[in-house]
């Protein structure tokens, strides 16, 4: 404490504490508290606010959790988000590995720039772009048909391909960057040593590279999973008419002015996602300190 005081000075220290405190309070705690407060109160017309009926209850949660339709949508959201995470990992791992191993060459720099450029465009616009590409008469269908792979257009959007592809694409960087950071710190001699000892490439990755990258891997997977499960714009634009994302249920409630029910939906999503992540972390033996590293 005293060393921090000499290092940053009284003013600097005050700034650090105020900034951190404000961030925690205004951006994290307050919204969460308000959401929880709303979620546990019934939906009432404004005249009844603070009246005898305005008391804490589990009614909203009963509606959210016991409804069969909601359960299906929730499970589908989780399942699809897992799929998005796995696909994203499969797509990003080779890229991040190449990037990390070629970090000294100019090629890596170009690759990194090529990765970042699409993200200068707004998420919504990118989703629209995918909508055009995947639509009934879009580029993909035209190319596939002209090459003779399919005889009539494939309905990417309603077959949920659109959502998955769109989500993988949208959150690509959130997977690549933590993976890259983890892989970059791997001593290339370890890879050579494993190779010298007779390990084929897949064993080197399984035994040496992946264990080293586990914190970054967990980090990327958790963030991608959370973003995918909590995504709204992409499912809205690239999802089929008949299939909903859980966030769309939340939106519907807020849209119908039932903020209390919406808050309950949102709270359930947060809690269930957290539980899911904790289970996965426990299964993969990833500790919280690994991820923060």
């Amino acid at each position: 404490m005293s060393s921090a005081l000499t290092r940053f000075g009284r003013l600097g220290l005050a700034y650090i504490f105020t900034a951190t405190g404000l961030w925690l309070l205004v951006l994290m705690l307050l919204p969460l508290i308000v959401t929880i407060d709303y979620a546990f109160r019934p939906f009432l017309p404004p005249v009844d606010w603070g009246g005898p009926n305005d008391r804490y209850t589990f009614d909203n949660f009963a509606v959210v959790l016991l409804n069969k339709f909601n359960q299906t949508i929730f499970l589908k959201t989780i399942w699809a988000s897992v799929l998005v995470t796995v696909l994203s990992l499969a797509a990003c791992y080779p890229v991040a590995y190449t990037l990390a191993r070629e970090k000294r060459s100019g090629r890596a720099r170009w690759l990194a720039i090529a990765l970042i450029i699409p993200f200068l465009v707004n998420e919504l616009l990118r989703a629209f772009a995918w909508q055009l590409l995947l639509s009934y008469k879009g580029l993909f269908n035209q190319v596939l048909m002209s090459l003779g792979f399919i005889s009539e257009p494939f309905d990417f959007i309603n077959k949920n391909v659109g959502v998955i592809v769109g989500l993988v694409y949208t959150y690509l960087l959130f997977m690549i960057l933590p993976l890259y950071t983890a892989l970059e710190s791997l001593d290339p001699n370890l890879v050579d040593a494993a190779r010298d000892l007779g390990a084929p490439w897949w064993r080197i990755h399984w035994d040496v590279v992946l264990p080293h990258a586990k914190p970054g891997l967990a980090n990327g997977c958790i963030v991608t999973f959370m973003l995918a499960a909590g995504s709204f714009a992409v499912p809205q634009l690239l999802g089929g008419t008949g299939s909903l994302w859980f966030t769309q249920l939340i939106y519907n409630q807020f849209n119908a002015i039932n903020w209390n029910m919406g808050a309950a939906y949102a709270f359930c999503l947060v809690i269930l996602c957290l539980v899911f992540i904790v289970i996965v972390m426990w299964l993969l033996r990833v500790r919280l300190s690994d991820i923060a590293r």
Binding site: L190, A193, A194, R195, D196, L197, A199, P211
Partner: protein, 368 residues
């Protein structure tokens, strides 16, 4: 023998840069062979070519009758000890040593036996369950060797593995490496820029400079009969005097230097007029009794400066011709004689002076 390693006209170029050129050497099975040279002389490239991480641009590498060309590192009968050891930090000692066997599909039981055998060999029994970070530098060294030996390679390649250790441990590890090599009974190929290490451990040494082999020979051969100015200056300490041959007679020649005519051996049969260099080891220089001691090969002057280095004294002598000559002399316990300002005569026997053709010498300030 059937597992002799032969490099035949091996060369490696990286773009316009020639890293190794025309290296040919035979390394007998079961011997301890060193490539010795300054940083950037191509020795590491040679090692990586033998281990298969780099393919030669020209020439071939053979193990007995087997041509190693095109055999990838994970299928070569060689094992490499990395400069930083490259032990797997997330695996235990036993997992590290057993890794090569594990990827070969050896059963856990057989693996365990081999790991125990290896731990016995390196005198670290009971360390199987330890984590790498719990070990000292010397222990890690031995684990790296055990890990490489566990896969029973025909040739063990060592890339300056002692360079990270402190001096005492390094000297201790020399003896240990030599013992391990005898016990393992396989060829060890050792890469180093430390001539002390190379001379102490090796059966034979190849001294390298600028991608080429300057000389191959036994340790004492390299030290006592260096074949070029580079080898004479790189291996061990030497006093170097530059000049020109003025007379020859049989085994000997006279070289005219800035500090007078000096006599020395002439193994390269230089003739009058040739540019030459005279090399004298510090331990072969002695202080003559008096100034008028008119032996051959004497240098007389006033001591200008003295630097004590333990084994040797480095003295700067202002020669009677008023030139400054820096000499290194063995510390024989009479160090008080080197009081600055005192007049001294230093001499050596013609048999201890070696005259070689003038050529590039090893500079101390060579950077990679």
């Amino acid at each position: 023998m059937k597992n002799d390693l032969a490099l035949i006209g091996v060369a490696k170029t990286f773009g316009p840069h020639v890293a190794v050129q025309d290296v040919s050497v035979d390394i007998a099975e079961g011997s301890f062979f060193s490539f010795l040279g300054p940083s950037g002389c191509g020795k590491t490239t040679i090692l990586r070519m033998i281990s298969g991480f780099i393919e030669p641009s020209a020439g071939s590498i053979r193990l007995g009758t087997l041509d190693l060309a095109g055999i990838v590192p994970n299928r070569r009968p060689t094992a490499l000890i990395f400069q930083n050891l490259a032990l797997f930090p997330l695996m235990s000692v036993a997992e590290n040593i057993g890794y090569g066997l594990k990827v070969r599909g050896v059963s856990a039981a057989a693996r365990g036996r081999k790991v125990d055998e290896m731990l016995d060999l390196i005198a670290l029994s009971g360390f199987a369950g330890k984590r790498i970070e719990e070990l000292s530098g010397g222990q890690r060294q031995r684990i790296a060797i055990a890990r490489a030996l566990a896969v029973e390679p025909k040739v063990l390649l060592l890339d300056e593995p002692l360079s990270a250790l402190d001096l005492k441990l390094r000297q201790h590890m020399r003896a240990e490496l030599r013992t391990l090599q005898r016990r393992a009974g396989i060829t060890f190929i050792y890469i180093t820029h430390d001539q002390g290490e190379a001379l102490a451990m090796s059966d034979r040494v190849a001294v390298m400079s600028k991608g080429q082999i300057e000389q191959i020979g036994g340790s004492s051969d390299i030290y006592d009969n260096p074949g070029s100015a580079f080898v004479a200056s790189f291996v061990g300490e030497s006093n170097i005097l530059v000049g020109r041959i003025t007379a020859t007679d049989g085994q000997f020649a006279v070289i005219e230097t800035a500090v007078g005519d000096l006599r020395g051996r002439n193994p390269k049969h230089l003739t009058t007029g040739d540019a030459a260099m005279l090399f004298v080891r510090p331990e072969r220089l002695r202080i003559a009794a008096a100034e008028d001691d008119l032996v051959v090969n004497s240098l007389t002057g006033d001591i200008n400066e003295v630097m004590f280095e333990g084994l040797t004294f480095i003295i700067t002598l202002r020669h009677v011709s008023s030139r400054l000559v820096t000499l290194s002399l063995a510390n024989d316990g009479t160090g008080l004689a080197f009081a600055p300002g005192s007049r001294q005569t230093v001499s050596f026997s013609p048999a201890d002076g070696l005259i070689l053709p003038a050529g590039p010498i090893a500079r101390l300030d060579v950077v990679p």
